[in-house]
Symmetry: C2
Subunit: 478 residues, 2 copies
Amino acid sequence: MYDTLITGGHLLTMQGDGVGFIRDGAVAIEGKEIVAVGPRDEVDSDAREIIDATDRLVMPGLVDAHMHSSAVLGRGWAQEVETWMASAYAPMLRHSNPAHAPLGTLLALIEGVMNGTTTFGDYNRPMNDLIQSHLQMGSRGVLCNGISALNWANREQWIAQGWQPGDPTPLDEETFQRTFQAEKQLHDEWDGHDDGRIKIIFGPHAADFLSREMLLEIQAEAQRRGALMHLHVAQDPRENNATLERYGLRAIPFLDSIGLLGPDLIAVHLSTATDEEVDLVAERGARMVCCSNSIGIIDGVMPPIARFKEHGGVAGLGSDQAPGNNSHNIFSEMRATAMYAKIAATSPLPMPAWSTLRSATIEGATVLGIGDRVGSLEVGKEADLIMLDLTQPPLLPVLLEPARNLVPNLVYAETGRNVTLSMVAGNIIYRDGHFANVDVAQVHRDVTAASAELQAATVDDELALGTPIVRLTRDGKI
Amino acid sequence: MYDTLITGGHLLTMQGDGVGFIRDGAVAIEGKEIVAVGPRDEVDSDAREIIDATDRLVMPGLVDAHMHSSAVLGRGWAQEVETWMASAYAPMLRHSNPAHAPLGTLLALIEGVMNGTTTFGDYNRPMNDLIQSHLQMGSRGVLCNGISALNWANREQWIAQGWQPGDPTPLDEETFQRTFQAEKQLHDEWDGHDDGRIKIIFGPHAADFLSREMLLEIQAEAQRRGALMHLHVAQDPRENNATLERYGLRAIPFLDSIGLLGPDLIAVHLSTATDEEVDLVAERGARMVCCSNSIGIIDGVMPPIARFKEHGGVAGLGSDQAPGNNSHNIFSEMRATAMYAKIAATSPLPMPAWSTLRSATIEGATVLGIGDRVGSLEVGKEADLIMLDLTQPPLLPVLLEPARNLVPNLVYAETGRNVTLSMVAGNIIYRDGHFANVDVAQVHRDVTAASAELQAATVDDELALGTPIVRLTRDGKI
């Protein structure tokens, strides 16, 4: 007798090299594991709990492979601006309150889970505190604290020494040691927690925010622990300028020259990479995360995911941060990724729906190093899955023969609204608008207070910088 | 005593040249008309029905300025294809059943209304039948039947005479007369129906599907009746080829040469227009509709709405058709329009949130010739408005001072899910997931049957044409 049987829905198992469609299928679960998956009449019907999936689609939970969860407290703060980091995002981050961070993370997870995400690749400080939100929600986390030698608190001092925005930022050994130490502690304490639901990886920030020696030290430590590295790569012209000045190479060739481009690297963004650099990252076997909405709103750029995948690379999708995106919704990322790739290429063909859906599921899981455990509905894998209502727009009508429209409509039309159930490791964490482990009304109240406090703390910086959102507000434009 | 008072929410009135934000406001309604709007303490609180808008945003209903509603029966049928019309959309249209068309329209209206649209610029045949769905839903319609001299039924005959896909299509006088007559009848019978909730305009299809004389005859008739013209303009290279061959001019210069480019023209798409042609259309005072998701998926092209607006043009947004889009959701169109414009220009600045929101509301209404009656919350206008929940992602948190994040989050994050109420001409047509006048469960059953029938009728054509969706299905990719 199974613990749970989900029966009568259509399945997208994501097995094989397509989407693994099964009409009128069933998924059986024991403990956290999938023990049977197939057409309904090939799966035993004896279970303690039977979930009727008639008129439902059952598929793997979505993977958000790169996000900065707690920044959601400043959602909608940072857009319509040419210098996003300097003029919009950094002024806020500088005043963010570590005590509020777990609250922001909880809100980001609420948004993700209600919209079908079950795994979060969260890159965020102070992770030792905000991991509590991941534990509470019951979602899967592949987490890091972030390691950096950048200390914005020294900015006035740099300026006194002649530093200007766009220049390479001075590196601070103490900041590096402190954040590196925090990452190691995080790994010691939490890696493998809750039977593997929480996994800790290492997060060197970027090639310009760490020295060669620091990067190599992090790599050695990560390898010793068997942990992946989660690194922003080619995210900004500033990064290329810094590595050129310090080592005579652009960021990607520099990373390659010190042996960092390899299968244990998660390379996020690649937005300033040349074609040859994209190909090099793919050839080295590093994994990519594409944050389409974030990089689109920040730079007006579509990252090179289509080229990366055509060259054999494995790529996932990420929501990045809500001040600049402005959401944590992988359905939005799917539509954006498929469509921006077409607009950037002036062709309807790049990033077809099936490839985009694979990036949001099995490829995203593979990028985070858990593709052997989740990302597809397969016997022996853990039961991370979602159900969607097929009786409502935009998934209605459902066509099955001779052509199916489910995958195109999931990618080009669905927004997350039709998600009715979300399960992680066999546990239902969301069903019909209700969260198993979170009081959303309380989060609403707490978040409202915390955001107001954050904004009040940031006001002076915003006014001094002429942050566009302040001017637009005064002009009655927003 | 008012009939209805909506009180305690934040308002985006869309008055003036921005978004007309009012904190803690109220809207009072008598009959179909707004009789007071302003801060709560400046509006009387005496009303038969009081709607508590605490933690809600109140704003004008969205305008879908161009759609082909009934085609939603083939949602998700047509993408990942270089020749969308010939290989994907036309095979389906050819077999569409006029008896099913009102059902498709009803489904499209359900999707639009649940996602905040209150006005639909529906371009669709046979409008004399499917207008019943607009009447039933209670939404506002600016409708046309479409006039064309193209008869796809003659296609085999053209081919026998040497015609090839991409060639100008032969014009059929009888088809023109029949569709023109239907449009006049539609206008006779329905224009101004239900105290103006239904408005009929004239829909010449495109410069290549009608001769010069036909276009001028339609224009004369429309002017006699005081009706706008709703015309696809510069939508396809084929159109330029046809007018070049027939009249020695590309489509837009040709239309200008016969006096069609003027304030009574709604010019849809402009996707193949040169910069100079875009400027010319704006200078002539014609209105534009931009269908970002549709043109993006069909051609990988972003229409020139940013340039058109910078040159003083008034532009609305449209969802076009669901086989190629794949939804009827103006929140999706807002995000797409703002983001595709940035990706196409490699800059974060084109189509800022406030301008995009204006195109979805007051400018969309102006495009359809009803900007004096709806599109903003203003005393004397009709009460077409929506409410959105501010206690849930992606509209949480709400920041108010010194900068507001509501408009960026509406445009860049909201999907329509947070819409809790929709009102047209003072009547509530949707509230908390329920439609006043439509049985959604019945529509689900009927649509499922009709779509299956449509697909069965189309199978042979699809197989003969090698429609990509059939191949992708067989390959297990979708």
